[in-house]
Amino acid sequence: MVKKQLIYNLLFVAMLLFGSSLIAQTITGVVSDASGAMPGVNVLVKGTNIGTFTDFDGKYTITSLTTNPVLVFSYIGYITKEIPVNGMSLIDVVLLEDSQSLDEVVLVGYSSRKKSTLTGAVSVVEMSDMGKTRIPNVSQALQGQVAGVQVTSSTGAPGDPIQIRIRGEGTIGNNNPLYVVDGIPSRDITFLNQNDIKSMTVLKDAAAAAIYGSRASNGVVLITTKGGTIGKTSFDVNYYTGIQSVSNLPHMLNADQYMNTLEKAWNNSNTSGSNPYTTDKGRADFSNTNWLNELFELGKSQNLQLTATGGSDKVQFLMSLGFYNQDGIVVYNNDKYKRLNYRTNLNVDLTDRLKIGTNLQLSYSTQDKIASKGESLIRFALLRAPVLSVFKDVNDPTYSAADPFTDMPFYTTTGYDQDLQRKMYEMVGNPIAAAYFSNDVRKIYKTFGNVYGEYAFLKDKELKFRTNLGIDLSFFHNKAFNPNYGDDDGGGNGVDQGLGRQNRPNSLNEERGEAYTITFNNTLNYTKTFNEKHDLNMMVGSEYIKNYESSIGASRSRFPYTTSEFRYLDYGGSTSNLWNSGSASEWALFSFFSSASYVFDSKYMVTANMRADASSRFSKNNQWGYFPSISAGWKISDEEFLKDVDWLSNLKLRASWGKLGNQEIPNYAYLTLVSQVDGIVKNNRFGNADLKWESSTQSNIGVDFGLLNNKLSMSAEYFVKNTTDILLPIGLPSVVGDVAPTIVNAGEVSNKGFEFSLNYKNSSKEFHYAINANLAILKNNVEKLHPNVPNIQGDVTRTEVGHPLNAYYGYRMIGIYQNQAEIDSYLTGSNAKPGDIKFKDVNNDGVINSSDRMFLGSPIPKLTYGLSLSGDYKGFDVSMLLQGVNGVDRYNQGKQIVNYDTRPFNYTTDILGAWNGEGTSNTIPRVAFEDNGSSKISSIFVEDASYFRLKNVEIGYTFKSLKGIQNVRFYVSSQNLFTVTKYSGLDPESTDLMDKGTYPLSTSVLFGVNVKF
C-alpha cells in the first residue's frame, strides 16, 4: 500500500513540474543517427538548466526564455552538437558516432584517465548495460561480465554473501578484492542498491591496482555511484516482483525403497539376531514423506527503486530510495532478507575553482537467517527417514498444538531407550520443525559515504587539490531466540528434565556491535597538455584509514514466557547459564602514494605508480611496505603505416609490471600472546616478529583491437601473478598446546592465465544488437612452502608444492571388491569385505594407510566464461546472460553422508544400484551399518563441479511517449532458468570446500515495470 501511495505522489509532483511550463519560444524536432531515430538524447538550452530528452521516436520539444538560445544535443558515444536556434521552431539533428568513443573517462584510483590511454588491465562494467539484470546483491553484477572475474554465491539463501575472485586465488588467507566506493575503501558492498550504481571498474593487474598498494593483491573493484545531471529533474520508478522456486533436487528413496535398503544394510553388517527391518516393513504407522518437497515452497521477492536526478550547472543532485524484499524458498518464511536504502549524491560548484560534494547512503537491512550451509536444514531434509511423517497424529498422546511436529522416530511417552525400534531410524531432527522454530534475525544499520572538496589552481586549472573524508559506520544487532521443542530423550540438566531435546532449555542470544572505518585522503593532481602532443598527469597523495570494531553479547535461558513480547534478556532465568561477553579490535593504515603518466601524441604512453603503506598489523621493523608499478602502451593503429587500413579502428599493445600487497591477517599476529578469557589463562598464539607484507608481483601483456569503426572490439591479456611471502597461518604441532596458527610469510603461489573478451555492437535499421563474450583460463600452482611445513593439511584438502591451493587429497577409489579372493590377492591382513570400496594401494605394500593418499582434484576453476546477448527492435528488447565455469571439483560431503554413511539415514535413488553380490556394481559399495570404506576421504566424493547456466533472461516492451511520461517499460525476467552440470549435490555454485548440503540457488521469474518521466 505504502509503495503505491509513493508512486502516486511522485506522479503528481511530476505533473506539476510539466504543467507549469512558461510560454515562450518553443522548438521541436527529431534527433536521429545513421540508423534512425534516437530516443533518450539529452537536449539542453546552453547556459540554463532547461533541458529535456528525446522520446522514443527521437522527438523533442523544448521551450526557451533566453534570447538567441543555443541548443546542445548530447548522447553517450556520440559527438555533442550545438545548434543556435536563430528563430527556427523546427530543428532536426543528425548525431554522429564519436570515433573516439573509446575515449570515455575511466576512474583508475585517485584519478581518472582517458580509456584510450590506459596501459593496465582494466575492465569497466557500465550499469546502464546491466540495467536488464535483476540482482539482489550488486556484486552479482560482475558475474559473467568480466574475463577473469569469478563471482559465486555462497548459498542461495536470502542475504547470504557473494564471493568474488579476481584472477584466481593468490593466497591461503583472504582472497577477497578491495572495493572502493566513491573513493572510500570497503570490504563489503552488500548494502548498495543496484540502481544507484553508475559503473564498476575492475582493476585486474598490478599497474592498475598498485595505487591501492597494500590491500590490492586480490584486485580492486572501483564503484562509482550515479551523480546528478544538468537539466530538468527526471524521475525513474522501477518495480518488480516475482517468485522463486527450487530446482535440481536430488531424488530420495521413498519409504519402501528405504526399508529395503536398511534391511539389506543390516544383513550386510556384522550383526546378530533377526533383522528388525524385515519385521518392521509395512508398519501401519509408516509415512512416505519426501522431506525435500516438504521443506521447499515458492519464494517471493519484490523490489522498488525510486530515483530523482537533476540540477543546474552549479548544483547537481541525485536522490534515491530503494526497497528490496526477498522471502526465501524454505517453508514458514523464516528465511528472509529486506533492505532499505536511501541515497543523496550532491555536487556543488561553489566557484569557478572550488567544488564540494557528498555521496551519502543510509541503509537498513535485516536478514532472517536459517542454517543455510554446513549443518543445515537442507542436510536434515536429505537425511531424515521417509517413513516418518512431518506432523504427529492429533490423537498421539505426545502431540501438542504448539509443537505438532514429529521428532524422534516413533516416539511414545513411555521410556525411550529400551525400545530398539526407535534406534533403528536415525534420530536426525525434523527439518520442517527446525524451519518453523528458527528465529535468528540479523539487522545492520549502516551509514556509508563521503564528503569531498576540490580546488583548482593555476591559470588553466591544471593543478587540483582534492580532500575526501569517508565514513563507513555500522551498527549491528543479532537476536536469536531458540525455543525448546521436540521429544524428550530423557536427557537434560536437573531442572530441564522432561523438556524436548531441541534447544533444551530455551535461550535468547543477543549481540550488538559497532564498526567504523574512517578514511581520509588528500591528493594533488596536475594535468597538462604541452604543445598538443605531450599529455602529462601527475598525482601525489596521502591516506589514513582507521578501523575500530566492538561488540557486546549476552544470553539467558529458561524463559517462562516465550512469545515475542518476552524475548528480551530480563525475562529469562536469572540463576544459571547466564552469559555475557564483550570484545573489540582495531587497526590502522597510513599511506603515501604517487602516480605519473605521460602520453606522447596519443600513441606512446607510460604510467608509473608508487605507494608506501604502514600498517598496524606488522611490527615496527616491518611496518612499511612499498608497492611500485610501471606500465606502457603503444597505439599502433595511430601510426602512419596503419592509418590507411580502414577496417582497423584501434590496435593497442599494453605491458605492465608491478607489486601489490596484502595485509589481511589477524591483528597483532606478530606478537606472542597469552589470553585470559573467561578465567582461562593459556597461550593464544606464538608470534612471529619477522612478519611482513605478503606481496604479489604481476606482469601483464595485453592487446586491444577495434574493427569496423569499433563495432567489434576485442581484448586479450596474458598475466603472470606470483604471490610471495604468503601470509600463511601455520598450525603448529599440538605438542605446544592448542594455539591459534602462527602467521608466517611462507610460500609462493603463482596464477597464470589468459583472458579474452569480445564485444560486437551493430544495428540494421531498427534492429540493434550486441554480443559480449568473455573467457578466462587460469592455472594456479603452489611454488614454494615454508621449510617446516611441506604441506598444509585441511579437512579434505592439502596444499603442497606443485599443486593448486587447497587441492583435494585422499584415497583414490579404483572399484569395488567383488569377492574375498580379490581382497586377499590385493591386501594383507585387511578386514575389508566384498562390496567395500577398493582404494589404490599407491606404494603397493598390501596395506591401505596414510601413505596411499594422493591428490584428487582442485577447487579452483581452470576456465570461467560468460556470454551476454542483447537486442531490441522497435519497442521490444531482449537480453540474456549465460555463464559457467569448467575444470573445477568439489568435495560433496552431502553425498558421503547421504549415500555412503553407516547410519540409517535416507539415501538418494543412486543407492538402488549399490553392490549386491559379485559383478553387480563397480562404482557404488554395499550398503552397511559398518564402514565399507566410505569413511575415508576419497575420490568417490570429489565431483566435477563444472556448470553452465542460463543466469538471466529478460524480455521487455517499451511504450513510447505517453502523455507526460518519457517512457514506460514492462518486462519479465528470469534467473537461473537452467543449469547443466554433472555435480550431484544441490548446487555446483557454492564456495565451501566441503559441500555439506547447501541452500540451493533458486529459479526465479520476475515481472516489472520501469517508468521514466
Binding site: 611496518q623 597469552v674 578465567g679 599440538s734 605446544v736 594455539v739 551399518f929
Partner: protein
C-alpha cells in the same frame, strides 16, 4: 583568498601525518603480551594459570576444543575409549550402528593413525602440558610472584600442583604412545615449536615425570587438602600416589611398596565402607577414598559439568558380555558399574538413578582412589614374595564389596565374594589380582593399561576374537600431528 586555500591544504596534509602515525602502535585489545605479564602481572593471572591447567582432565563436552569436532576426537577426553573400549570391557552401544565408527575401531583393533581417539588424547594432554608450562614459568619467576604479592606458601602450593599436572599428562602420553616429544616451556618462537616436535625416549619422559613429582612433593603442604575450600586441588597425597603408580608401571616393586608406605603414613586415605561413595556426586570430597578427581560442577559458564552423562544418554558406553560375566554372582559392584535393566552406567554418571542425558551433570571423574592404590600394593607384595600380604589386601577389597548394600536396595545374599584362600602360588594370586582389578576398577579407564603392563593384552583380546597385534602395545602417533610437524614426529613401528 588563494593563500587561505593554500594554507588550509598544507594544514590538512600535516595534521593527517602527525595524528595518524601514532595509531599504528596501539597495544592489543584483550590480549596479554609477554611484556604486560612481566611488568604488571596480577594475582588472578597466576591463580588462573594453574586452575586452567586442570581443565583438560574434565569430561565436559567441547570443554577444551569448541565446536563438536568428532573428527578430531576432541569432543570429550578419550580415556574411556582408549582404555575401556580398547580393553573390550566396554562397547560403543548395545547394537551395532554406524555412529562414531572410530570408537568401534578401537574395540576391534582395525584403527589407523588417523583415528580420532589418538588425536583427541594427544591434543588434550599437550594442551594440559602447555598450560602447566605457562603456570610454571610464571610461578618460578620470583619477580612476577613478588609483584603480585602472592605469599610463598600459596605460590609453593600452586607450583606443586602445576608440576604434578605436567607429570600426569606426560605419564598418560607415554603409556599410550611410548616415545613422545618433551616440551617443558612455551617456545619463544614458532620455529622453536617445530624444533620441539621430535620424540624423545619413553625413559626420558619417565625421568621428567619423576623429577616433576619429586619437586611437587617437596613444596606441597603436608595436609589432606592443600586448601580446604578447594578440595579438588592436587595435594601431597595425590603426588605420592602417582609416584607409586609410575613405579608400578615400571615394575619397580620396592619403590611401589616404599611409596605406598609413605602415603599410608600421611593417614589421609582409607577404603570407604560403601563401594559407591567414591562416585556418588552427593558425597564428593567427604569420602575417605578418592585421592585425585576432576571436580565437575553444574550451571557454570563456561560449562564445567560431566558431559559423558549426555553421551551415555545417546546410547553410548555399554558393557560387553565378557565384562558382565567377569563379575562373580551377586557382586554388588556390577550394578554400580553398569545397571543393565535400568541402562545406567552409575560410576560414570555419579548416580545410580540420575544424570543420564544431562550434559552438565555434577559427577566427578575419578582418576586415583585408594582401592586402586591398595591393589598396586597387593601386586607389588605378590611380586616380592609377600603372598599373604597380597591375599589380605585382595580380601580387604572383596570384603568391602561384599558388605556394600546393593544398588537396588536389596540385601546381598550370604556367601558372595568369599575371601580368597591363603596361597603361596604367585601365579594364582596374580590371577586373583587381575580379576579383582577388572571388576573393582571397571569403567574407570585403567584396564587397557593393566593388560598392556601385564603383557596379557594379546592373549585376552585374541581370545575375544580381536585382531590384537604386537604393535598395538603402543597406539599410533596421531597422523594429524605427524603431518603438522612435516614428518619430524615419527610413527610407531607397524603403523
Amino acid at each position: 583568498m588563494k593563500y587561505i586555500y593554500k594554507s588550509i591544504i598544507i594544514i590538512f596534509f600535516f595534521t593527517a601525518i602527525a595524528s595518524c602515525t601514532k595509531e599504528l602502535d596501539n597495544n592489543p585489545i584483550g590480549l596479554l603480551t609477554a611484556n604486560q605479564v612481566d611488568s604488571s602481572p596480577t594475582i588472578t593471572t597466576l591463580e588462573s594459570s594453574v586452575s586452567s591447567a586442570y581443565l583438560p582432565l574434565k569430561s565436559t563436552l567441547n570443554g577444551i576444543i569448541p565446536g563438536w569436532q568428532w573428527g578430531l576426537g576432541t569432543v570429550f577426553r578419550n580415556d574411556i575409549v582408549l582404555q575401556d573400549i580398547a580393553s573390550n570391557d566396554m562397547k560403543k552401544k548395545w547394537s551395532a550402528d554406524g555412529d562414531q565408527v572410530w570408537m568401534d575401531q578401537l574395540g576391534d583393533f582395525s584403527f589407523t593413525s588417523e583415528n580420532a581417539a589418538f588425536n583427541g588424547i594427544w591434543v588434550y594432554d599437550y594442551e594440559g602440558i602447555s598450560r602447566a608450562n605457562l603456570a610454571i614459568s610464571f610461578l618460578t619467576n620470583s619477580e612476577i610472584v613478588q609483584k603480585t604479592g602472592m605469599d610463598e606458601a600459596r605460590k609453593n602450593q600452586l607450583l606443586g600442583e602445576a608440576y604434578f599436572l605436567r607429570a600426569y599428562y606426560y605419564f598418560d602420553l607415554t603409556n599410550n604412545f611410548g616415545d613422545v616429544p618433551l616440551v617443558l616451556s612455551s617456545p619463544a618462537t614458532f620455529q622453536e615449536a617445530f624444533a620441539l616436535a621430535v620424540r624423545v625416549s619413553a625413559d626420558e619422559i619417565k625421568a621428567q615425570v619423576n623429577s616433576d613429582l619429586t619437586a611437587a612433593k617437596e613444596i606441597l603442604p603436608n595436609v589432606k587438602y592443600s586448601n580446604p575450600s578447594e578440595p579438588w586441588r592436587v595435594s601431597k597425597g595425590t603426588v605420592i600416589a602417582l609416584q607409586a603408580k609410575v613405579a608400578l608401571y615400571s615394575s619397580d616393586w620396592t619403590t611401589v611398596l616404599s611409596t605406598i608406605s609413605e602415603l599410608d603414613a600421611l593417614g589421609f586415605y582409607s577404603l570407604n565402607t560403601n563401594y559407591f561413595d567414591s562416585f556418588d556426586a552427593n558425597k564428593e570430597f567427604t569420602d575417605n577414598e578418592v585421592i585425585f578427581a576432576y571436580n565437575h560442577t553444574t550451571g557454570n559458564t563456561p560449562q564445567n559439568g560431566n558431559g559423558l552423562a549426555a553421551v551415555a544418554g545417546w546410547g553410548f558406553f555399554k558393557p560387553t558380555d565378557d565384562f558382565i560375566s567377569a563379575f562373580e554372582p551377586n557382586d554388588p559392584r556390577l550394578l554400580y558399574t553398569f545397571d543393565v535393566p535400568n541402562d545406567q552406567a552409575s560410576k560414570i554418571l555419579g548416580s545410580t538413578i540420575d544424570y543420564k542425558g544431562n550434559d552438565d551433570s555434577p559427577g566427578n571423574k575419578i582418576y586415583i582412589r585408594y582401592a586402586d592404590v591398595l591393589l598396586w600394593k597387593a601386586e607389588a607384595l605378590n611380586e616380592t614374595g609377600d603372598y599373604s600380604g597380597a591375599v589380605t589386601i585382595i580380601n580387604q577389597i572383596r570384603s568391602r564389596a561384599r558388605n556394600t548394600p546393593t544398588a537396588d536396595g536389596s540385601i546381598s545374599p550370604v556367601g558372595i565374594l568369599l575371601d580368597r584362600a591363603s596361597s603361596t602360588n604367585p601365579t594364582e594370586i596374580k590371577d586373583w589380582l587381575m580379576s579383582e582389578r577388572r571388576v573393582e576398577l571397571g569403567f574407570e579407564s585403567q584396564r587397557f593399561n593393566d593388560l598392556k603392563r601385564w603383557g596379557t593384552a594379546k592373549s585376552v583380546l585374541t581370545s575375544l576374537g580381536r585382531d590384537f597385534q604386537d604393535k598395538n602395545y603402543l597406539f599410533p602417533i596421531p597422523q594429524r600431528d605427524i603431518d603438522k610437524s612435516g614428518g619430524t614426529i615419527t610413527q610407531n613401528a607397524g603403523y
